[in-house]
């Protein structure tokens, strides 16, 4: 390991770590207040375990030179694809979706971990010699790299996770200097493809989109989540109800309250003021990430930092948008807050990439 270099340690971005640590702490406390349990154990212990594993993964990623990581990206990518394919073979099925692979005592979600490989792989594609400058051929290769896992993940089905890949790809293309006209063309083509995608969607996924367009069309069915989340958030009002008063969350009116909808729980407990604090943490984290990308010494570092930031940003914004009722409901966890090991680990690995780029910025 080319890691233990004093100069590197001097350049650790403590502010970034502090922001991330705050978010993780708030998330863990929120999970702890919910009396959700699995097999008798409070979920918070599992969450703390995930944080510990994530921290180790983060340190590991940060200690490896990101250039080496990009070099082995195709390998990681193929391993990731294999994982995605494996889900269909030995995956554990939960409420109709096969997303998990049992691994020892824990379940691993390959689609989550795949995001990490995806970021590196796209960077690898965009930085190979023949890919410069970004032309249609580059786009075509990137398209293939994108579409294969996309289809596999949609098939699980896990539309949310699959959709996250798109903005990551988009931001990386922009970062790689694609001409905007070309990108516009791609987006137009994607929009033109939407009806086809609609055709492939599952019924419940279509329902969700319809409900987003008209939340009260089926208030007891699909829109239930939206309405209950809005009630939870809104009833927190300015200062929140505190832990004991958060009936929406604690009394289980809120579905998925420890995973995708954890922000609604937080909002009910701590109100508008608490939400502002949390949002400032996230905003700081993300802006810091873009800053790391902008100040990176060379294009590869810039793209890696950009990809990692894009991944966290897209998930954060889409999750918050959906929980607050601004976007249709797609199953995306809130990075570093939602309960869920794979998501936590992959988010912290992304942080590791950012730290890595930052540390080597001055090297």
């Amino acid at each position: 390991m080319p890691g233990v270099d004093r100069r590197l340690l001097q350049n650790v971005d403590w502010l970034l770590l502090a922001a991330a640590g705050s978010v993780i702490a708030l998330g863990t406390v929120t999970v702890a207040t919910l009396n959700v349990s699995r097999a008798g154990d409070s979920l918070v212990y599992r969450q703390l375990f995930s944080v510990a594993v994530g921290a180790m993964a983060m340190v590991l990623v940060a200690s490896i030179d990101y250039r080496n990581l990009v070099r082995v990206a195709p390998l990681l990518y193929l391993v990731g694809l294999a994982g995605l394919a494996l889900v269909f073979v030995i995956g554990r099925s939960v409420s109709g979706a096969r997303r998990w692979i049992p691994l020892g005592g824990v379940s691993v979600q390959p689609a989550e971990l795949f995001k990490f490989a995806f970021v590196l792989m796209i960077v690898w594609v965009l930085t190979t010699r023949w890919a410069q400058p970004v032309k249609k051929a580059t786009l075509a290769v990137a398209g293939v790299v994108f579409i294969v896992p996309f289809v596999l993940i949609v098939k699980q089905p896990d539309l949310g996770t699959a959709l996250i890949l798109a903005p990551v790809l988009g931001l990386l293309l922009i970062g790689a200097g694609i001409r905007l006209r070309l990108l516009g063309g791609v987006v137009a083509a994607a929009v033109a493809l939407l009806p086809v995608v609609w055709f492939f969607l599952k019924d419940y996924q279509r329902q969700r989109i319809m409900v987003y367009l008209d939340p009260y069309r089926d208030p007891l069915g699909t829109a239930y989540n939206v309405i209950q989340a809005k009630i939870a958030i809104g009833s927190g009002q300015l200062l929140g109800k505190g832990v004991a008063g958060a009936t929406q969350s604690r009394l289980a009116f809120l579905p998925e309250r420890h995973t995708d909808f954890i922000f609604a729980v937080f909002a009910e407990m701590w109100g508008f003021v608490g939400c502002l604090v949390l949002l400032v943490c996230y905003a700081f984290l993300l802006i810091r990430g873009f800053d790391i990308a902008a100040t990176a010494r060379e294009p590869l570092g810039r793209l890696v930092a950009l990809g990692a930031t894009a991944l966290v940003t897209a998930q954060t914004l889409i999750n918050l948008g959906m929980v607050t009722g601004l976007l249709p409901i797609v199953g995306i966890p809130l990075p570093m807050m939602s309960y869920g090991g794979s998501a936590m680990v992959v988010s912290m690995m992304a942080l590791g990439l950012l730290l890595s780029v930052r540390m080597r910025q001055f090297a």
Binding site: K230, G234, F253, T324
Partner: protein, 577 residues
Amino acid sequence: MTVGVLVLFLVLVGQLWYLQVLEGERLQELSERNRMRVRPIAAPRGVLFDRNGLALVDNRPAFTLSLIPREMDNRDAVLGRLSALLRIPYAELDDALGRGPADSLMPVRVRRGLTLEDVARVEEWKLELPGVIVEVEPVRLYPTSHFAAHLLGYVREVNDEQLKQGRYRRGEMVGQSGLERLLDNYLRGQDGGERIEVDALGRPIRVIRRTEPHPGAHVVTTVDRRIQEAAERAMEGHAGSVVVMDPRSGDVLAMVSTPAFALDQFSGTISREAWIQLVKDPSHPMLNRTVQSQYAPGSVFKIIVAAAGLQETTLTPLDRAHCDGTFHLGNWTFRDWKAEGHGSVDLRAAIVQSCNVFFYQAGLKIGGATIARYATAFGLGAPTGIDLPGEKTGLIPGVRRSGRRPLYRGDTVNMSIGQGAVLVTPMQVARAMSAVANGGALFKPRLVQRVESADGRILHSDPGLVNGHVDLSPMVWAFLREVLIDVVNEGTGTAARVPGVEIAGKTGTAQIVANSKVSAGQDHAWFVSFAPARDPRYVVVVMVERGGKGGQVAAPIARQIYNAIFLEKVAAAGLAG
């Protein structure tokens, strides 16, 4: 990039501001409604069984519309919508809701017996009807709507008067007549309930606490469903009553009063008009004629007169009288039902052919006070002690009662053929006839054998009770039995004959004094009997109001009942064998 992210975050902050600050109060209220709800679980009433274990009445689930006062924020609008949706008068809803406290969590039952369409409509408009729920409650299920109506009695929502006693909760179903009323405390059981959390849309989230309902206790009656059904079939189209009793125990095997009312109309919410119509019906369907109507016994009473005379030896089987169809007493002329008379008759013939003139003379010889004493000894003119509310006492003239004039000889003449002021109920006659059949024991008519809790414990049992005794010499009992057998075999009661079964019986045709000039079709027709005559197991008393002659109207009905008892039983046994 940074700018873009900042803009998106500002959008989020804006949305949060909108939800938490601008809309906060409204959403806070909504979250308040994501709360507790109390859901009562009605205990099923106990089942009534016949003596052979067949159910007389059971339960079925039914839908009840209920309102939760606390959740009715927009009360008037919701009631208006509901009224239009289910076509229930607004006033009725308003009234029902207004009777309880306005902030109660307990649902107020507004209307029972919703149809499936009604339920579907309510569910469909659920969101527009906060505080409106549909409960599932067990209600009575009757074999047929009129089956044993007076015996079983109806069950109806508790009324205001009963509420004042403080034993019932509003909206509860309470037995209002018959056995349902008598045994209500046993049958009712104890309602359970659930505390559940519901969300703002009224969907149950989870059960906090559940109290299981305790079903009501089961009742084993003395009734034989097969005989009850046969008796009801036989009485179809007639007004009157039938009592079938086991003379060995006083068990009531069947108790029919016609016309009957429809039991099941009370399961739902009966409208005021329907209720008034039922109460004011000139045929009095609510009246249990077996214990609540009093009639002159007519010639049935001759059994008592004969018993009195023989026991007091003022009358012997050898006494003869010449009957030319009329009997004179001072300026009064009393007529026989047969204008040309029966000729020379002895006591046996006088009973078999039901000669009035013989009994006019015999009555005077025996004396009115003595006849009255024996009538009383046979339990006539006094309550039988049956466990049904509202039993009438009947009347025997001359029995010491303040303010009554003494018996004149004319009264005695009338009384000796069961006319005049004599009044009895069919149940009294059945009890007296049982004494004739069993040799003098008067039983308290028994309706209930035992009450068993759902887990099989005996909560109450009625071993039967002898509450009177008629002391006659065995010779007199034997004479009465032989004569009554002759009545059916060769006298006025031949229409009751059933091949292979010896039946002892007596017909009676009671003139209604006020209408004595009207045609014979206006007389009450009686037939009282027991069988098998030498080993009596069944007493059958038939009374048809304004039916005509006892031998022509009542006796055939008794025959149908005996047919069911004996012949169909044989047939059933044959099939089983």
